[in-house]
């Protein structure tokens, strides 16, 4: 009986089962629980607050429509995150078609630049407090192109393997390796620059 359900204390599994039966209150509770995480994932990829809000809203609507397809192979949060990532990638591809590609981006895609970048010999993250390091990584990622930021987000934060990333991004494993390599080297250089700015 819906009146006896305690939504705030129920586990995700129970809420999903109720929502699959049409219980919108259960789905509302799922939204409340995971909305920040889904928004954060959308923001990390889009780097735009309004896009991230709109995409996370769209992801929740799609999740409701596809709820019957969720069989519990992964956690609900992971399933939701995948929906969000796919929506972000769709929008990024659309935006890329509308946007002229800069020479820098073309160089990044061809992968020629990273071979010339010197290795960062001093660990740019050493000695930093976690909070400060987190902010610096976030600031540095803001400066990457969307392809390189996306591959970093999917590999480092979503812990996806190369072949999984290749599948969702619709490109070869070789392209993913190249983008990840360049993204990391560029990130290291950016963190190094930030460290130098702080040096007395």
């Amino acid at each position: 009986m819906p009146n006896e359900r305690s939504y705030p204390t129920a586990e995700d599994k129970a809420l999903v089962a109720w929502a699959q039966q049409g219980d919108m209150l259960a789905f509302e509770e799922l939204v409340a629980r995971h909305r920040d995480k889904i928004y954060a994932r959308a923001f990390s990829m889009m780097r735009n607050e309004q896009d991230a809000i709109d995409l996370s809203q769209e992801a929740w609507v799609k999740a409701w429509q596809r709820l019957a397809q969720f069989q519990g192979e992964s956690s609900f949060a992971t399933w939701m995150t995948r929906i969000t990532i796919n929506l972000c990638l769709d929008l990024l591809r659309k935006q890329k078609r509308l946007r002229a590609e800069s020479i820098e981006e073309m160089n990044e895609e061809s992968g020629g630049v990273e071979r010339q970048m010197p290795v960062v010999t001093v660990n740019p993250t050493e000695g930093l407090e976690r909070t400060e390091l987190r902010k610096r990584i976030d600031a540095a990622m803001e400066k990457l192109s969307y392809e390189h930021r996306t591959v970093l987000v999917l590999h480092e934060f979503e812990e996806m393997e190369y072949k999984q990333i290749a599948k969702v991004m619709g490109c070869s494993i070789g392209t993913i390796m190249s983008r990840l390599f360049y993204a990391r080297r560029r990130l290291a250089a950016l963190l190094q620059d930030l460290r130098k700015e702080d040096a007395p």
Binding site: E49, W64, L180
Partner: protein, 169 residues
Amino acid sequence: MNRDMQFKIQALADGELSAAEAREVSALLAHDPAAAALHAELRQLREAMIGLEEPRSLPESREFFWSKIRREIERSERASVAASAEPWWTAWRMWFRPAGVLAGVALVALLFLLPIGRGSGPNAMVAAFADGGAITFRDESTGTTFVWFTYPAENGVAEAAAPTTLTTP
């Protein structure tokens, strides 16, 4: 160190190599300082990023955000119900309109091209004067000849580039 080796060093740091490949690359690191430095850089960065994603909160209240989601869910469900209630043939409407336009154009083209109501034999002749500066069109059905001069007259005999109509009985 070529590009392939750089990627293998990265794959080693990410645990994406097979056991045999991992041994091969590790052996290289032991003898190549540049390769070892690159591996260290990649590994340090990877370790630094573990669990360090900037947390963010949705900048809208729970109630407001949920109200938008609910509204969109209800709207899409109404649209879905309306679509399933339509007769089967309405799905074909998107093809009827352009097909109708094409049929109309084809009919008009046929009316102009077919010699309906005219006598047999050629009813129009197009000829060019020997000097190539004029074109004539003769419509036998009406006994009308059109002459089009393509250049202005030099001696004033014909007016500048304008069609002249000669009608013969």
